[in-house]
Symmetry: C2
Subunit: 370 residues, 2 copies
């Protein structure tokens, strides 16, 4: 009988895979130097395109080359190799992870014999890290580069992580802090019918305290504002591997709706990660501008929109994945009324209204949209 792999084995396998990719890239560069050819490497142009078939953002098909002998590329070429070397020797080989901020500090320095700084600021190291991901066809996490995570989770789920058995149903009044990388996590038990995501820790706390996850058998996930990569990957893994629907609750606000769309379709800035991070079956459950009327939220319980919100809404009107009649109506209402509302505005009807009426109604009536 095959033994299931432990989280540590999964992590080591991923590290070896990533190291092999870096070795291949470096060998190609080395080969061209040996052949007397100018060193270069190829990578896809990082431009997001909406793929209606796959129902998510994908990387376009055009490619570009980074050439060492092109003076406009030389610096970036050097920087990419420096970052690749650091990921290989300092992270993957040593089984360590680090943030892109720490990476910046460790690649900083001057070129020997000169006063030229290898990197001027973190923007430069971030950019070449992303170039490297795309060139290698890997996610940042595969290079042991992590983003800060802010997710919290509860539910009737037991996992194994680095040898620890963690029961998400026994987290007291706290929760389990979702780490930045979740690929190595082994799910031991998943007793849930769906995943319920909220964009705010305060709302998560309300639902947790009101035992929503027990009553409706769901996994309750929250981030603080925009969902981080670790949390999105966790949602995707659970949804894919255990066939769980995902219902997203955000504020009635273009910013919140964009959080939903990043969970579902991926992010425009990092289209190459959407295969890895986007949960295409996620559905939007609320709040919409329609909800403000349906639930009779008075103006006093709404907030004025900032000009940036209106600008955002106008841009979103054009996104291919917001073309449905529903989303066009929400965005237009957002622009017209100049008001937005938080999920918490439902506290007008008492603090448990969201747990005892709003969410149960949405679930019962399957009041979800794409």
């Amino acid at each position: 009988m095959l033994m299931p792999k432990t989280s540590e084995e999964l992590r080591r396998e991923q590290e070896l895979r990533s190291m092999k990719r870096i070795e291949e890239m470096m060998r190609r560069i080395q080969d061209s130097i040996y052949k007397g050819m100018p060193p270069e490497f190829e990578m896809p142009v990082r431009k997001g395109v909406f793929d209606p078939e796959k129902k998510r953002l994908v990387l376009g098909t055009s490619k570009t080359r980074r050439r060492y002998m092109n003076v406009a590329h030389t610096r970036k070429f050097m920087q990419t190799l420096k970052v690749a070397e650091t990921c290989y020797n300092e992270l993957l080989k040593k089984h360590k992870t680090t943030t892109i901020r720490d990476l910046f500090y460790s690649v900083l320095g001057t070129i020997p014999g000169t006063k030229i700084q290898t990197f001027n600021d973190q923007t430069e190291s971030n950019l070449v890290s992303t170039d490297l991901e795309v060139a290698l066809g890997l996610a940042r996490e595969d290079l042991n580069l992590v983003a800060e995570s802010s997710g919290s989770v509860v539910g009737d789920v037991v996992i194994e992580d680095n040898g620890d058995i963690i029961d998400w149903s026994k987290m007291g009044s706290g929760g389990w802090s979702v780490p930045s990388v979740v690929d190595h996590i082994v799910f031991k038990k998943v007793n849930a019918k769906f995943i319920l995501y909220v964009e705010k820790k305060a709302v998560w706390n309300r639902l947790r305290e009101d035992n929503v996850w027990k009553k409706y058998k769901c996994v309750l996930v929250a981030t603080r504002g925009q969902s981080d990569r670790g949390t999105r990957r966790l949602i995707k893994r659970m949804s894919d591997e255990f066939d769980l629907p995902v219902y997203v609750f955000t504020d009635s606000d273009p910013y919140g709706w964009y959080i939903y769309s990043v969970i579902k379709y991926g992010s425009m800035a990092l289209p190459h990660t959407s295969e890895y991070l986007a949960t295409t079956r996620a559905k939007f459950a609320g709040m919409s501008m329609d909800d403000l009327e349906k639930y009779d939220i008075p103006k006093s319980h709404t907030l004025p929109r900032k000009p940036a919100d209106i600008k955002r809404a106008k841009e979103m009107l054009k996104y291919p994945w917001f073309q449905s009649e529903f989303w066009q109506r929400q965005l237009k209402k957002a622009i017209q009324t100049k008001r937005k509302a938080e999920l918490q505005s439902l506290a007008k009807y008492g603090i448990e209204f969201i747990s005892e009426k709003y969410i149960p109604d949405k679930l019962k009536n399957q009041d979800f949209v794409d």
Copy 2:
């Protein structure tokens, strides 16, 4: 034999205590109405004073009265009673907690027969909530009002929280999310020599991954920037109840140093909470401006200061608790050099330098200041 109380019993007792305080306050107001006297209540003036004896911020001794018949007070009087009523009926009586944001939404409304709004914005409800705390001599948490928490913790500690047994040493690559209220938590096992606090999750992750908490037998705590009340209370409880020293690591930056001072002395905005939240034995361990020289951090690894940082540093020069020769030197250097450095700048010497050299040296040499 007396059975130790469970976290639920502790929570219920606190709720009953708080309800009793509100009842007493209301009875006094009711009594004056029955006697034909104008209703009023007394409360301390909310002004922080540094108490050199107690070594923390305390509430000044002056008192003020909120009088219903004084037109300048009438609105606030009404608002305070509305908030008290909501805390009593909706939170304490129902064993529910909520954030001050949700509280705002639930007290919003109009005065019957008029178009006058009870509250115009959240500033008003925040202000009277704090007035109510001070008038009742309670912390906000005692009213089941919670702030959002952002703390994460690992260590060789086992707690009981709401009937769940939680082992902080078995959290995989995540940690336990510290909840907003920790008073009811029962410590079952605390195998630690000290508490190590860092202001950033990224640094916490580095230390966790490098097993610093196992090697040095410490509890590893991080928040995201300014430490929230739940986390500060947890640090205080563990430090007081298990006689644990607390070592604070922040960036080399007045903002970071102020985070340290809030942990140690309390916050100026909420001096009445420092008895409950301030860990007076906490010590500052780094980074200082001196460290930048000691560890030879080059300018390329520092960041420019914003004018607001300089302004902050100039104000801090005057605070009674920053008068030592050490702090005056740090603040003056901060103003002079116009540079600041993050803990992560130590990654110049490799990403594990902070875990394998910087922190071990600080601990070995007892390189801490007050």
